[in-house]
């Protein structure tokens, strides 16, 4: 029972972490609180479903198409929709407020498009749903894949941010955009790049969760909410924090569901969230301001 709970929590937590990593980049570096984030996740789920059912393309192969597309679309969204806001904003706070309102509109547009193309139906397909034996317990293979990808993406993002020149520039912008500009970092470029990377991670999450979750055009907000909790719990803009917070939440939910009462999972999620914020207001890996 214990191994069951751990494995189940790790796979769920891996999914939370993966989805939250994109939002932490968008929010932490670009300072865009993207309320339409979950819609991008679900849009990718639909595209993966479409490619799988009509083209017979494995979701893992379709990542090769969907991830670059997600990157490009997010880059365009930032360039066309959000750059005017960035240019106009007098302060970071003003940009956050403006971006919340405009991405709230974007949420309805993306949701509306999905409703037009795919309808409001529940959608689900089965891929790589074979039982795998690990440590004497059984788990679905596709969930292990999601966990694997979460760790892989987490590691790649961490390496990129910590060890590359571009990564340092992104971190600099997250800490202080004005100072970053003074030392010749192109702030607007860095913000656009971070937003697009965040979008690419969002669609990766969407493709992967489509393998084992039932989704429809209206559940994007669930992902936005969960991701937002993980992002704030882990420390805004901190990829390692998102990874840790996501996995902690997954484990907590799974332990509560197994050993206490499945009815309390949501309550406990928020209790942990509050506790973390009380002890460390900047998030687990965040620095207090």
């Amino acid at each position: 029972m214990l191994t069951n709970a751990i494995l189940s929590g790790l796979t769920m937590g891996g999914m939370y972490a993966l989805v939250a990593m994109g939002l932490t980049l968008q929010y932490g570096v670009s300072r865009i609180m993207n309320l339409a984030y979950g819609e991008f996740v679900i849009a990718a789920s639909f595209v993966a479903f479409l490619l799988f059912t009509s083209g017979g393309l494995s979701p893992l192969v379709s990542l090769l198409i969907i991830v670059p597309a997600g990157f490009a679309v997010s880059y365009l969204v930032y360039g066309i929709l959000l750059t005017p806001l960035v240019r106009r904003a007098r302060s970071r706070e003003a940009l956050e407020a403006d971006s919340i309102l405009s991405t709230f509109g974007l949420l309805f547009i993306v949701q509306g498009l999905m409703l037009v193309f795919f309808g409001g139906n529940y959608t689900s397909y089965s891929y790589f749903n074979t039982p795998v034996q690990i440590l004497g317990t059984t788990i679905a293979a596709n969930r292990l894949v999601v966990l694997g990808f979460a760790v892989l993406f987490g590691a790649a993002c961490y390496f990129f941010l910590m060890r590359t020149r571009t990564g340092v520039a992104l971190r600099a912008v997250a800490v202080d955009p004005i100072a970053a500009g003074l030392v010749a970092v192109d702030v607007r470029w860095a913000a656009a790049l971070a937003f697009a990377l965040g979008g690419a991670i969002a669609v990766t999450g969407g493709v992967l969760v489509s393998m084992f979750l039932t989704f429809n055009a209206n559940i994007g907000v669930v992902f936005t909410m969960k991701a937002l909790i993980v992002v704030i719990m882990g420390g805004v803009g901190n990829v390692a924090g998102a990874l840790a917070a996501g996995i902690i939440l997954g484990l907590v939910e799974s332990f509560v569901a197994t050993f206490v009462d499945p009815g309390l999972t949501i309550a406990v999620t928020y209790a942990v969230f509050l506790a973390v914020l009380l002890v460390r207001p900047g998030g687990l890996f965040g620095t207090a301001k």
Partner: protein, 408 residues
């Protein structure tokens, strides 16, 4: 907040333009004006686009293709005014009020779901529109039928589903096929609460032992812990009063984790074509609410027509009630020969109608269809009605549930 008010404004403009389009040709009665409010977006959209919207479209299409409804000596085509309630009951109430007072439609079709139908009940009643609910399961149906005399509750009460299923279990136990131990999981929301309460009472009254009895919140994505725990208890019977995403999730996890009780029962969406498409052979033997007689000619014709017009099959539960309700409305308009709401209601209350559910009449205390299938089972690609066992066309339970087939 500026954007928010703009949003409101654009909704209002949309509504106004819709109303204008709809209102212009209605000077003399050249058509029957039918209005409806359904959840095209929001949390309810999944259910509404499966059971409600396709049937409304099919019905309107069929009538208009045949030249219209016979009202007295005229044949009138249907003109539709529709609104989206965005899965909010406040919005549904407002829109129904608008249909009644501004659009002045002749009849209003009901919204999707138990909650919204309870919410709009007083408005239907206030303006004297018959409320024929095809997607509401509530134990209060008999009270509501008294309070709102023009309301009809085709899907019956939660109790009838739970009791029908427990009767089946009692019979199996008498035959020595199952023991006393039952595990039950339910969603902590309207349907799950109502059904699990009724189920718990019926199970305990009949001396069953609930070895697992837990609820889980709306939007639970990880169902593996529940299945793992229940599997360890090894009950003969597993019941889940679940919503569509968790119905699929629980089935999926049970299959992956190799949990195969003798009776495996899941909730809403088990009878959806989605379930069959998703699980194919693995659906065989799964028990749930609803069911049909697959050999009935009317049922076959309805499924074929539904597929032809809307491009997909109907679900094997609420779609049938919804469509039967529409057929009853149409026939009562034709029999009364008028669009007068009161006269049509009179016929609805007392008449007998030839529908996809057979010949039905609402002439009873609680304004329900007597004798609908409450328990069904997937058997070779069809969801066959089992209980009530004395109902014509009811099938035999396949027992025990076959092994889950190897991975797809």
């Amino acid at each position: 907040m500026k954007n928010l008010s703009k949003l409101r404004l654009s909704y209002a403009l949309c509504a106004a333009s819709l109303a204008l389009i709809a209102a212009s040709p209605a000077l003399s009665q050249e058509s029957v004006r039918i209005g409806y409010v359904v959840s095209k977006t929001g949390a309810n959209a999944g259910g509404a686009t499966t059971s409600t919207i396709p049937n409304y479209e099919l019905w309107v299409h069929e009538i208009n293709e045949a030249g219209g409804i016979q009202v007295g000596d005229q044949k009138l085509k249907i003109e539709v005014v529709e609104y989206d309630d965005r899965s909010s009951s406040e919005e549904a109430v407002r829109a129904v009020e608008r249909l009644a007072t501004q659009d002045k439609v002749d009849f209003i079709l009901t919204p999707w779901g138990t909650g919204n139908n309870l919410a709009v009940g007083p408005i239907f009643d206030k303006y004297g529109y018959p409320q024929i609910a095809g997607t509401s399961v509530t134990d209060r149906a008999p009270d509501l039928a008294k309070r709102w005399p023009n309301s009809y509750w085709l899907l019956g009460t939660g109790g009838s589903y739970a009791e029908g299923f427990v009767d089946l279990l009692v019979k199996l136990r008498e035959e020595g096929k199952i023991g006393d131990e039952v595990a039950m999981a339910s969603i902590a929301d309207g349907f799950g609460i109502e059904l699990s309460t009724a189920g718990r009472t019926a199970l305990q009254e009949n001396g069953f032992k609930l070895v697992y009895d837990q609820t889980y919140p709306l939007g639970t994505q990880d169902l593996a812990p529940i299945v793992n725990e229940v599997k360890a208890l090894n009950p003969d019977v597993f019941i889940a009063f679940s919503y569509p995403p968790d119905t699929l999730g629980l089935t999926d996890q049970a299959r992956v984790l190799g949990f195969n009780p003798k009776i495996f029962y899941t909730g809403v969406a088990t009878a959806f074509p989605l379930y069959k498409d998703r699980f194919k052979d693995a659906a065989n033997g799964v028990v749930s609410l609803g069911g049909i007689d697959p050999n009935d000619e009317k049922v076959k014709a309805y499924i074929a027509k539904h597929k032809e017009v809307t491009g997909k099959e109907p679900d094997r539960w609420a779609s049938f009630m919804t469509y039967a309700g529409l057929q009853a409305l149409q026939q009562s308009i034709e029999q009364s020969g008028t669009l007068d709401k009161e006269k049509v209601s009179e016929v609805l209350r007392t008449g007998t109608f030839d529908t996809v559910l057979g010949n039905i009449s609402f002439d009873n205390e609680n304004r329900q269809v007597p004798n609908i299938f409450t328990v069904g089972q997937w058997q070779d690609g069809e969801f066959v009605g089992l209980v009530p066992t004395d109902k014509e066309g009811s099938g035999e339970l396949v027992f025990p549930k076959p092994e889950w087939p190897a991975a797809q």
